[in-house]
């Protein structure tokens, strides 16, 4: 069913291929404002100059129009389950992830949609022209559900997307909301069979008695169609909210983690999973700690880590026991007595944990810092980077407005030499581990002309504010960059700022 309506009108993929886009053309609801930068690029140092190559704005006006137009499509989108404006909320990007080659970039949003971008092939005529990313596929991954027993609405917001490595022509990814993980297959179709004997061209059945000759159906080319189909649904295994999924290096299993438990799945089996971590206390009133993130080791399929709300990381080996409640390694930095406050625990809560590509290090993000740990040293991190230490004196206000509970993610670049994480005011930060230099950049509509070089930003802490600096009190805490992604081998980054997606490349002189 060919739809020319914005993505909000998509039906669930269970019934139809959702969206047919001529390949390479952009979907009707996005309007990039940058033309691709004519560059050639090798992997350079992360904090060289960065330019904007692509910006996806999801205009709320279009969404509102759609909402008024058609009652049926409203029902399809289950908007009757929401009591607030769904136009803005549904478009908030909640996860961003490159696939293993960097050819595809997936985003998930609060409305349960997944949008996949594909990098254009580099043209032979312009060898120095880097491919830009175009919309490749869009589908509704999760719908809002209602748990009748508990009388709860289950949000359709996509918490995480993880790609599987490509093994054939199709692409596979896992997407999850609070309760259910789904495996999606994204495949292309560019031929269709014609010349059936029992069906006519419109698909109507023919009366067999009218058939006098037989012919062999032939495959004829058609406009490229990209279909997304749900291949597996892994449901009913989590009582609490899923915060992480991670594909194992054996490509046969993956894990899903919620606040108190981690389950191990086999991709082929949807009605069972193994519980490998369970930190639920016998008496819930004794609960003091929850799981905040989890990830498999990139090479060792028996090893994984999970982080907690108390700022600890546990490394577990599945060979040691079936239930990995006892960790193999325990990473925790002793509290700095000079920085103690009522909020010490909250700001130590780890919001993201990521293995380096090499598998030697893990990186953790807590409220104010990013830390790099060597797997062989448990008592303290080997590197600590201050993301926005100027907020330390504002913790009380940030506690009041709940910003202190924001969960920022962090990413490695392809060579593990640079790490990146988001902040407020649409700022994001990069730290070069080798040169120890860092940079603050901004992803915002006003400051990003196409192909313009991003200007480093600076926050003024006290004293005299220089011309281009911004003072701490002027920061906009509603503009937070929680989700970022780094291309696996090149210096291309994707930054999600609320409902806008920015793609930046580095500029090589």
């Amino acid at each position: 069913m060919l739809l020319s309506l914005p993505a909000l009108h998509l039906q669930t993929s269970e019934h139809h291929p959702l969206f047919e886009l001529p390949h390479g053309r952009l979907g009707p609801w996005c309007s990039p404002t940058g033309s691709p930068a004519p560059l050639s690029c090798d992997t350079g140092c992360g904090e060289g100059s960065w330019i904007l190559v692509y910006r996806l704005l999801v205009p709320t006006q279009v969404s509102l129009l759609s909402m008024e137009e058609d009652i049926d499509t409203r029902k399809i989108n289950n908007s009757f389950l929401r009591d607030h404006s769904y136009a803005t909320e549904a478009d908030i990007i909640s996860t961003v992830e490159f696939n293993h080659t960097g050819e595809l970039l997936a985003t998930g949003d609060k409305g349960g949609r997944v949008v996949i971008f594909q990098r254009e092939q580099e043209s032979k005529n312009q060898v120095h022209r880097r491919g830009e990313y175009n919309v490749y596929s869009t589908f509704q991954s999760h719908e809002p559900e209602f748990d009748y027993l508990k009388s709860l609405e289950i949000e359709e917001k996509i918490n995480k997307i993880r790609w599987l490595p490509q093994q054939n022509a199709a692409y596979f990814l896992l997407s999850t909301n609070d309760k259910t993980v789904k495996l999606w297959k994204v495949s292309e179709r560019d031929k269709r069979p014609e010349g059936y004997n029992l069906k006519d061209e419109e698909g109507r059945l023919r009366d067999p008695s009218t058939i006098t000759t037989l012919r062999v159906p032939v495959l004829r080319p058609m406009d490229l169609m990209v279909e997304a189909t749900p291949r597996r649904v892994f449901a009913n295994a989590h009582t609490y909210h899923i915060n992480s999924i991670s594909v194992n290096s054996d490509y046969e299993t993956y894990m899903s983690a919620d606040d108190l438990r981690i389950n191990l799945w086999n991709f082929e089996i949807t009605n069972q999973s193994f519980n490998i971590v369970d930190i639920k206390p016998a008496n819930m009133e004794e609960l003091t700690e929850v799981i905040t993130a989890a990830e498999f080791h990139p090479h060792h399929c028996n090893t994984f880590v999970y982080s907690s709300s108390k700022g600890t990381i546990r490394l577990c080996d599945m060979r040691a026991s079936a239930l990995c409640d006892r960790h193999t390694k325990f990473f925790e930095e002793p509290e700095d007595p000079s920085n103690r406050s009522f909020f010490s625990e909250i700001i130590s809560s780890i919001s993201d944990v990521k293995f380096s590509h090499s598998g030697r290090y893990i990186m953790t993000r807590d409220y104010l810092t990013v830390k790099v740990w060597d797997l062989n040293m448990e008592n303290r991190p080997i590197e600590t980077y201050q993301v926005h230490d100027y907020l330390r004196s504002k913790l009380c206000s940030l506690y009041e407005n709940d910003c202190i509970f924001d969960k920022f993610e962090c990413v490695w670049n392809g060579s593990d030499s640079v790490i990146m994480t988001g902040s407020y005011n649409n700022f994001f930060r990069m730290f070069d581990r080798n040169t120890k230099r860092d940079v603050t950049l901004e992803a915002s509509r006003e400051n990003s002309k196409p192909r313009a070089i991003l200007k480093p930003r600076k926050v003024c802490v006290g004293g005299k504010r220089r011309k281009d600096e911004i003072s701490v009190d002027s920061l906009d805490f509603s503009k937070k960059i929680l989700h970022t992604a780094w291309h696996p081998s090149e210096n291309i980054i994707a930054v999600a700022a609320t409902n806008n997606l920015y793609i930046f490349q580095d500029k090589v002189n």
Partner: protein, 237 residues
């Protein structure tokens, strides 16, 4: 301010919720604007944390991480106010807490009213099926502003000795409410019943009730409304 999902969508409640949740953001408010003395700051932080806790517990499905962090912070603050034991700084209550308390009382009135109506639904929160009870006991008018502030009740419950959210004796008040059918343990996810055999490793001896067909039938009947609420048959049936 974004309303959390899961809140019952009664309009009056939403508005009350908004009114309750945002008073401390008002910069003109005396409790907020005042330059805090150490004890006054702790006290207002304490009140703020208690309110956050209530707000979190009011939701049908609280964000566990948020809840745990707020509770732990509350414990820290309470511990720092330890010399006053279970009371906030007295003898002469500084003006800010007083004002804060009167507001807390009135906001608690709104809270009490809505919490009373939410009591039956509390069982949806697994394991945290009881909120600090005394606030529900205050009645529609709330406590008088003079004397012990309403948060006293919550303080008792967060008694340092027990470290528990609720005193066990209060459980008796909920005896007449059969929450067993809402106990999520009955709906143990597939993974729990298929936990790897206890042979290897320090597996937990978890007494997960088995979901046999008879129980499923019973529960389905109840959902359909053909059966009165009564205790389900034991697992050994």
């Amino acid at each position: 301010m974004m309303l959390s999902k899961g809140l019952k969508r009664k309009r009056e409640e939403e508005e009350e919720g908004l009114a309750v949740d945002t008073w401390w953001l008002d910069p003109g408010h005396p409790a907020v604007a005042q330059a805090p003395a150490a004890t006054a700051a702790s006290s207002s932080l304490f009140d703020l944390s208690v309110l956050k806790l209530h707000h979190s517990l009011r939701q049908s499905e609280p964000d566990l991480r948020h809840l745990v962090l707020v509770v732990n912070t509350l414990r820290r603050i309470q511990a720092s106010m330890a010399p006053a034991a279970t009371l906030p700084p007295v003898p002469s209550p500084p003006p800010a807490p007083g004002v804060a308390d009167s507001l807390l009382a009135s906001s608690d009135a709104a809270l009490s009213a809505s919490m009373a109506s939410l009591l039956e639904d509390l069982s949806h929160i697994e394991g945290l099926s009881q909120v600090p009870q005394p606030l529900a006991d205050e009645g529609p008018l709330g406590r008088p502003t003079a004397g012990a502030p309403p948060s006293l009740g919550a303080l008792d419950l967060l008694g340092p000795a027990t470290g528990c959210l609720l005193d066990d004796s209060l459980e008796g008040l909920f005896e007449d409410i059969d929450t067993s059918m809402y106990d999520s343990e009955l709906w143990a996810p597939a993974s729990e019943s298929l936990k790897p055999g206890p042979v290897e490793g320090p597996g937990k001896e978890e007494t997960t009730p088995e979901l046999d067909e008879a129980e499923l039938d019973y529960l389905m009947d109840v959902l359909v409304g053909t059966q009165a609420l009564e205790r389900p048959p034991g697992p050994g049936r």
